[in-house]
Amino acid sequence: MIVASQKSITELKGIISGHKKVLFAGCGTCVTVCLAGGEREVSIATYAIRIARKLERNPVEIVQMTIERQCENEFIKDLAEPASKVEAIVSFGCGAGVQAIAERFPGKPVYAGLNTQFLGVLEEQAVWTEKCMGCGDCMLSHFGGICPVTRCAKRLLNGPCGGSLESRCEVDPDRPCAWQLIYNRLKGIGQLERLEDIVPPKDWSTAWYCGARKVVRKEHQL
């Protein structure tokens, strides 16, 4: 799941300061689950911004709409009618959603309402942690299903570094040592011998560092 966090009301207010009628577009998928950009969060932001602008004697009309997914044109088209009646759109989707909406409405300013953070999982109620950085060359099979590329601060493929304390990372004690987790996991599944393997250097050409990537599945193309 893509995890995002909310921008402050002050920042949002600044972003739309030049507009009098704005569409706040929520997304019903990842950012709804991570309580950042779903219908409820959009509603709260709408109230807060509307009150703030009234207090400044510069009222703004805000139209709200939450669609199933902002990253697919099939769903974005539902925004066409409300979008035609506003000066600008604030997307409460992830960065992909913001850009998909901007592409769909080329003549309309589209602003990001959230800060997109990472690919992660829900650890407990309202707590998400990063698990995957989408490097394009998954090596999880080497490490018992725990990714040191994402979860080790030093991205060691042949760890551990020796700096962990009480199973916590020396870079950030709030974070568990990924290599301790890998050891525990390999021990649990009876594959400790994997620690003897030398993992070759990673192929980073598949990662974001070479620019925006593209996936094409020819067998499914029309």
Partner: protein, 166 residues
């Protein structure tokens, strides 16, 4: 004309000159849980305890049912102060509705501070159904707090708009 004078008063840095107006009584919304505060309010009424007439009680099944939007919406419509009254901690009929309400109230206070309306206009307290005198005391305190802060400026701008002065 009088309304315009009112409006000017609110534009200065020392805005709440309204509070000096003895005729103004704050409009207070009290969100009351069915299992405690609503009974406490009823008991206060049975005992003929007095509190200001500007208090409007909203009967809720549990304070956990009160959403952030309900509170912000009430302020947007002009409430001068809001009191959320839930069960004593550990005594929620739905186990932790009052604890969730507390966290939501804290967040709304932060939003109100951020947007300039003032988090002091919102207060959450925990009472039991027998605490009628404490209920009245809390009402009196939020009324006094609202008087100190002055009228909700949103209500004022609404009045100005209807008077055609904006």
């Amino acid at each position: 004309m009088k309304q315009l004078n009112h409006r000017r008063n609110m534009e200065g840095p020392d805005a709440p000159e309204f509070s000096a107006d003895s005729r103004w009584e704050p409009e207070i919304i009290a969100f009351c849980c069915d299992y405690c505060a609503y009974s406490a309010a009823a008991l206060a009424g049975s005992n003929r305890m007095q509190y200001p007439a500007g208090v409007r009680i909203i009967h809720t099944p549990c304070t956990g049912k009160i959403e952030t939007e309900h509170i912000l919406g009430a302020f947007e419509k002009g409430a001068d102060g809001i009191l959320v009254v839930g069960c004593l901690e550990g005594g929620c009929h739905f186990v932790e509705g009052n604890l969730r309400a507390r966290r939501r109230a804290d967040r709304v206070c932060a939003i109100l501070d951020e947007i300039g309306l003032g988090g002091g206009r919102l207060k959450m307290v925990n009472l039991s159904d027998s605490m009628a005198s404490e209920f009245v005391q809390e009402i009196l305190e939020i009324v006094e707090k609202a008087k100190a802060l002055g009228p909700n400026p949103l209500k004022l701008s609404k009045q100005s708009e209807s008077a055609g002065s904006l």
